[in-house]
C-alpha cells in the first residue's frame, strides 16, 4: 500500500508530546479546518483553556493547538480504501470455565 501523501510532515522529537493539544473550536465538522482557523483569530476562545497561564505558556498552548490541527489535517486528508484493516486486533473471549 502506498500513501497518497507526497511526504511526511517533519515531526520534531518534542512535538509528539504536544500532539494532544488542540483548541475546542477545532471540533471536527465538515468545515472543521475553517473552524480551526477561526479559533486562532478568537483569542478569548483559546483563553478558555489557558486563562490561568502566563503569556509564554498561553503562546505555547496556541502553538500546540495549531500543531494538533496540522496533525489532524494530515490524518483526515490521508486517502485509504474503505474497510482498511486496523493495527489493533479484537478477538472474542472464551468463558473461563472452571475458574473462580
Amino acid at each position: 500500500m502506498k500513501s497518497s501523501r507526497k511526504g511526511p510532515v517533519p515531526l520534531t522529537r518534542r512535538r509528539f508530546v504536544t500532539l494532544m493539544a488542540a483548541g475546542s473550536a477545532a471540533l471536527v465538522t465538515p468545515g472543521g479546518a475553517a473552524a480551526a482557523a477561526a479559533a486562532v483569530a478568537r483569542p478569548r476562545r483559546a483563553g478558555a483553556a489557558g486563562e490561568t497561564l502566563a503569556p509564554s505558556d498561553r503562546k505555547e498552548l496556541l502553538r500546540q493547538q495549531a500543531s494538533t490541527r496540522t496533525t489532524l489535517d494530515v490524518i483526515r486528508k490521508h486517502a485509504m480504501p474503505p474497510g482498511t484493516e486496523m493495527a489493533a486486533v479484537f478477538s472474542a473471549m472464551r468463558p473461563r470455565r472452571g475458574k473462580a
Binding site: M1, K2, S3, R5, G7, P8, V9, P10, L11, T12, R13, R14, R15, F16, V17, T18, L19, M20, A21, A22, G23, S24, A26, L27, V28, G32, A36, A48, A49, G50, L53, A54, D57, E60, L61, R63, Q64, Q65, T68, R69, T71, L72, V74, I75, R76, H78, M80, T84, E85, M86, A87, A88
Partner: protein
C-alpha cells in the same frame, strides 16, 4: 574499599569477578550505596534507596555464589528501577509529588524477574512526571527537577528515564531499567553516553508498569555495553500471563543467535545536516559508520518509508495517554504536575474525534505493511540517535531539540527494537550516539552488531569524572 573504576565496570566483568570470588556482592553493594548517598542528589538519580533490601539480596548472592550456585549473569549485580515500575511495599511515584506515597502490593514482572535472577535492587530512579506522556516542555518536569547529566550537571540527562540514565552514567548502579513510549530509553542513553536497548513491543512484559500509552510502552535496559543489554534483556523478556500484550515468543539471545554481520543488509538513512544538528555529532556518526563498515556491515543509503508516521504515532500516544491518566483529570490532581500545560491537554484534545483515532489505527496498519516491506530489503537501519548533544537543564525542549525524528516515529509506531550506542563526544565533550533499528524480534542481531562496534571502539568504556 573498592577502586572507583569498579563502579563503572560492565555487568559481565562484575559478574565474572563475583563468580570467581575476587569481588564480594556485599562489598560492591555497599560501595554503590555509599556512592548513591554521596552523588545521587547532585544528578537527581535515585528517588528511593532500598538499602535494607539491597543488602539482604547481596548477602543472599554472596552465600549462593560462595556455594557455587550461580543463578545467571546478573547474580549479585546491583541495579536501579525507574520509578514507574511497581515494587512491593516500596513507594512508586511515577515522577510526581502527589503519588510519592503510592505503594503497590506486587512487583512488576520485570522487577520480579530480576529478583529471581539474583540481581540486587538498589532503589528507584527518578523520571519525568508520568514519563512525559502528558507532554513536557522543560527538563525540570519531574518531582526532583531536571535529571542532571554526570558529564556536565548543567546539561540534561534526557528523558523520560532521566534518573536511570544519570544513575548508570554516574556509576551509582551497574545497569538500570527504563521505559520508552517514544524515545525515553534512547534519549537518556544518547545524552549520558550509555548503551540502551528499546525492545520489540511485547517482548518484555509491562505488567506492573505505569501505563503511559497502552500500545506503545516498552521496558528495557540502560547499561554500559551491548553485551550488558543482552544479559538484562534475557532476564526480563518472555511471555507473561499478567500482560495480555506480551508476545508468545522469546527469541534466542545467546551470542551467535543473530545474523552474521557479513549477511546483514544495512540501510543508512540520508540526512541533511545543513538544516539541523551539530557538525561534531555528524563527524562522530560518520566515523561510526566507517567502523561498522570495517567490521563487515554492508550499508547502502536508503530512505525510510514515506509515510506520516509521526502524525499516526503522536495522535495515538496522545489519546492513549489521556485515557490512561483520565482519573487525574477527574480529581484535579493533574494540576499538581509541573508542566503548566498538562492540565489543559484534556480540553485541548477535544478535536481528536473517535473517527480520527480509528483512522490513525488503520494508518498504523498501513505503516506496518510499508515498514515490513522495507525490512524485507534491509535488516537494520543505521541513523544518529540525536543530531546534537544534551541541551542545558534550563533549555526549552521545543527549540533545543527542534529536529525531526523519522526513525523514532516509525519505530514506535511499529513496535521496533533499537539499540543506542555511544559514538564519542560532541560539543563541550558531551556524548553523542547512533541507533541501530531492526525488525521485530531482531534483538540478537542488533546486540551482535553493537558488540562488533564496541569491540572496535572504546567510547562505551569512557565514563564521566564523578568525584
Amino acid at each position: 574499599m573498592l577502586a572507583e573504576d569498579v563502579f563503572f565496570l560492565p555487568v559481565s566483568e562484575l559478574a565474572r569477578r563475583m563468580r570467581e570470588r575476587s569481588l564480594s556482592p556485599v562489598e560492591l553493594t555497599e560501595g554503590y550505596l555509599a556512592r548513591i548517598e554521596k552523588f545521587s542528589a547532585r544528578y537527581n538519580a535515585f528517588v528511593t534507596v532500598t538499602r535494607d533490601l539491597a543488602l539482604a539480596q547481596a548477602r543472599d548472592a554472596e552465600r549462593e555464589l560462595g556455594a557455587g550456585h550461580v543463578r545467571g549473569p546478573l547474580h549479585g549485580v546491583p541495579w536501579g528501577a525507574k520509578d514507574l515500575l511497581a515494587t512491593q511495599g516500596i513507594p512508586t511515584g511515577w515522577g510526581t509529588s502527589f503519588l510519592a506515597n503510592q505503594v503497590f502490593d506486587e512487583d512488576a514482572t520485570v522487577v520480579a524477574k530480576l529478583h529471581e535472577a539474583g540481581a540486587v535492587m538498589l532503589g528507584k530512579t527518578h523520571c519525568v512526571e508520568f514519563a512525559g506522556c502528558l507532554g513536557y516542555r522543560w527538563p525540570d518536569a519531574s518531582v526532583a527537577g531536571p535529571g542532571r547529566n554526570p558529564w556536565n550537571p548543567e546539561r540534561w540527562t534526557g528523558g523520560s528515564s532521566s534518573g536511570s540514565g544519570a544513575a548508570v552514567a554516574a556509576g551509582l548502579c551497574a545497569f538500570a531499567l527504563g521505559t520508552e513510549t517514544w524515545g525515553s530509553i534512547l534519549c537518556p542513553s544518547a545524552f549520558c553516553g550509555l548503551t540502551g536497548l528499546r525492545p520489540t513491543y511485547g517482548l518484555v512484559s509491562r505488567a506492573g508498569g505505569m501505563v503511559g500509552a497502552y500500545t506503545f510502552d516498552k521496558i528495557g535496559p540502560l547499561a554500559r555495553s551491548a553485551s550488558d543489554c543482552r544479559d538484562v534483556l534475557d532476564a526480563i523478556a518472555g511471555p507473561d500471563p499478567r500482560d495480555p500484550t506480551s508476545a508468545n515468543e522469546k527469541p534466542a539471545l545467546a551470542p551467535g543467535q543473530g545474523m552474521r554481520i557479513s549477511e546483514v543488509r544495512g540501510a543508512l538513512v540520508p540526512l541533511d545536516w545543513s538544516k539541523s544538528g551539530e557538525p561534531e555529532a555528524k563527524a562522530a556518526f560518520d566515523e561510526a559508520v566507517g567502523v561498522l563498515r570495517a567490521a563487515g556491515l554492508h550499508l547502502e543509503e536508503a530512505k525510510l518509508p514515506d509515510y506520516p508516521a509521526g502524525e499516526v504515532s503522536g495522535t495515538l500516544i496522545s489519546v492513549e495517554a489521556l485515557a490512561a491518566f483520565e482519573p487525574f483529570y477527574r480529581d484535579g490532581r493533574v494540576k499538581l504536575l509541573k508542566d503548566k500545560l498538562a492540565p489543559h491537554q484534556w480540553e485541548l484534545a477535544r478535536p481528536i474525534t473517535g473517527a480520527d483515532t480509528m483512522k490513525a489505527w488503520r494508518m498504523r496498519r498501513e505503516l506496518q505493511e510499508l515498514t515490513a516491506a522495507y525490512y524485507e530489503k534491509y535488516d537494520v537501519v543505521v541513523t544518529p540517535n540525536f543530531n546534537s548533544v544534551a541541551p542545558r537543564v534550563t533549555d526549552d525542549l521545543n527549540t533545543s531539540l527542534a529536529y525531526a525524528d523519522p526513525a523514532g516515529a516509525i519505530g514506535v509506531g511499529c513496535g521496533l527494537p533499537a539499540l543506542a550506542l555511544p559514538t564519542g563526544f560532541g560539543r563541550g565533550h558531551m556524548p553523542v550516539s547512533l541507533q541501530l533499528m531492526g525488525g521485530p524480534f531482531s534483538e540478537a542481531t542488533l546486540i551482535e552488531l553493537g558488540e562488533a562496534y564496541q569491540k572496535a571502539t572504546r567510547h562505551h568504556l569512557e565514563h564521566a569524572a564523578v568525584a
